[in-house]
Point group: C2
Chain length 340, copies 2
């Protein structure tokens, strides 16, 4: 970490060729600054990595009483339920929730470039995506508290499930039903996140623990999503020796697996069992066995963790919530006549 | 509408037994006011219906550059996708998005009671729920622009699909396939919304237009959701003469219908066709025929409509986006041997 050069408001004003009063008004989004001038000042502040002193800002305007929630994929159940739970706790405590939806690399870069120069929030909750070192530095410049909701994070306090344990529970369920030829359809990282290998590693570990040799052709990787999972399952159906069970990375992906099996006339669970992870609200309608996680509990706990920090209260900085198997009709005993 | 009594800051200060400076700081969430005093001032402001003059507030702090998004059920795809699209347009235009998730009557009352006294936003987007007359008055007290995203609204400018047209398209699709005995599984209003009768009325109208007599036992009503729809479908299967097709209020509900049919050994579409409304991302995985609406388009357009108002630009205040049938495997020609 390099030395922090202290940049003053005067430096910003000089770089933007405006008075200090104008620079201050521009940074505080105040009345009487033209859009052109404001953007020139913000650009100068960004270039110089100028950070409004939190103390000065607090003194000038009070604490912000606002928290930023940084989220992607809000159109997916997991993210929506998480944000709803976070909002409920924060608004109950009198905080405003500033929503930042960052689905593209461009959104994300803009968020991290703009935020530190305009200190608007007391804390940030990052929902289930990894933060790069550069981004972490930007957040730290703001001197706000940061919590990760969902997705274990080494850099921040977090609330999450234990992904490895969830996979282990799924495999234990299948192995108890007599399955040994168990495939996994796993998601590679999306454009914003590095490849998530935790669940895949856990799959290999759990097989090994059960004395089942890992067969690389049973591990198929695709992009996150139901349709990619449906296509990946076609690859599994092309194998000489079929699996008797499939573990999918998530319930949405399990529904994709089930579509391919249904279209191919493969009976679930008589021919092949399918298990997901999540307990998505629609899993129940698909009769899908799954490893349940409570997303709203993770959301609530992460918001409470942030509130504890903001109140200066000690709190457990690595909180892991429970998962367990919900048995439905998509898994059953291995069909020994077919399995060999 | 009664006369508006002008309440001054001095009235609020007197009612709360504090100085005007303290009352002002409390209302502006500023530094140096104890939580107890602040809540006393806010309570007095609420009791007196005190509204910070928008002009005074703008003069003091600039425009807020923030928009409130009022939403319920954020854990459902429709609402998450809508908010994501709204956020994308607003943040691109330099606005902050303040998220208010109001799932219970309590959340909702709190939002409407608190908001006017603390003018924090330039506009409000209400996502797909009706606003009562009292609530409308509270919003108007704020003197901010309001837009409804999804859900046709008589009181505000809106962007929405034509619900009646969507139902008509579904019925036309089924009727073209030879169906005449067409059931509908419809959602009654939830706790926050009055019963939504638009889709049910459209079902009756479309039948009439096709010269099909309305049979009340084919119209079953339940709470919104997949499991209630699954139960409602059991009622349909108890009829002496089964329907040959089912229209569900939404895709999530159609998935509930399909579960009951699957568990009962009723083949889809050979015995009974099923069609939904939405094109939920998981509809494709269930091979569900549906009437597609673009939620992200409605979100984008409603945010753009609000921005036009904020910029003082004229814009079309009643915008209706397209819907169309996406044909998948859950609908097929009527089975005349069964339908007689």
């Amino acid at each position: 970490v390099g030395e922090r050069v202290v940049v003053s408001l005067a430096d910003v004003a000089r770089a933007a060729d405006v008075s200090m009063a104008t620079a201050s008004r521009a940074l505080n989004n105040a009345y009487g600054v033209s859009p052109v001038t404001r953007s020139r000042v913000l650009e100068a502040a960004r270039r110089l990595d100028f950070v409004v002193s939190p103390d000065a800002a607090r003194l000038a305007s009070g604490t912000t009483n606002a928290v930023a929630v940084l989220v992607q994929h809000l159109d997916r159940w997991y993210f929506g339920e998480m944000v709803a739970a976070i909002e409920s706790i924060l608004s109950g405590a009198g905080y405003d929730v500033l929503l930042y939806h960052v689905n593209t690399q461009e959104d994300r870069s803009k968020f991290f470039a703009d935020l530190p120069a305009r200190r608007k929030v007391d804390g940030v909750i990052v929902v289930a995506f990894p933060i790069s070192d550069y981004e972490r530095e930007r957040l730290e410049l703001m001197d706000v508290r940061i919590v990760a909701a969902g997705g274990q994070s080494v850099a921040y306090p977090y609330v999450s499930i234990d992904d490895g344990r969830a996979v282990q529970q799924a495999l234990e369920h299948l192995i108890r039903l007599g399955h040994r030829r168990i495939a996994m359809v796993t998601a590679s990282g999306d454009t914003l996140a590095p490849a998530e290998t935790g669940r895949t590693d856990a799959y290999r570990d759990a097989l090994e623990e059960a004395g089942i040799a890992f067969d690389p052709e049973l591990l198929v990787t695709c992009e996150w999503g139901g349709v990619p999972a449906a296509e990946a399952t076609e690859r599994l159906l092309g194998l000489k020796q079929l699996p008797t069970a499939i573990l999918a990375h998530s319930d949405e992906m399990a529904l994709g697996c089930m579509r391919t099996l249904r279209r191919s006339g493969v009976r679930v669970p008589e021919d092949i069992s399918v298990i997901g992870i999540d307990d998505h609200p629609l899993a129940e309608l698909a009769d899908l066995t799954t490893v349940r996680q409570s997303v709203s509990e993770q959301g609530r706990l992460s918001a409470e963790l942030l509130l504890a920090f903001l109140d200066g209260v000690d709190a457990e900085t690595e909180q892991v919530t429970n998962t367990y198997v919900v048995t439905r009709r998509s898994t059953g005993p291995v069909n020994t006549s077919r399995a060999r």
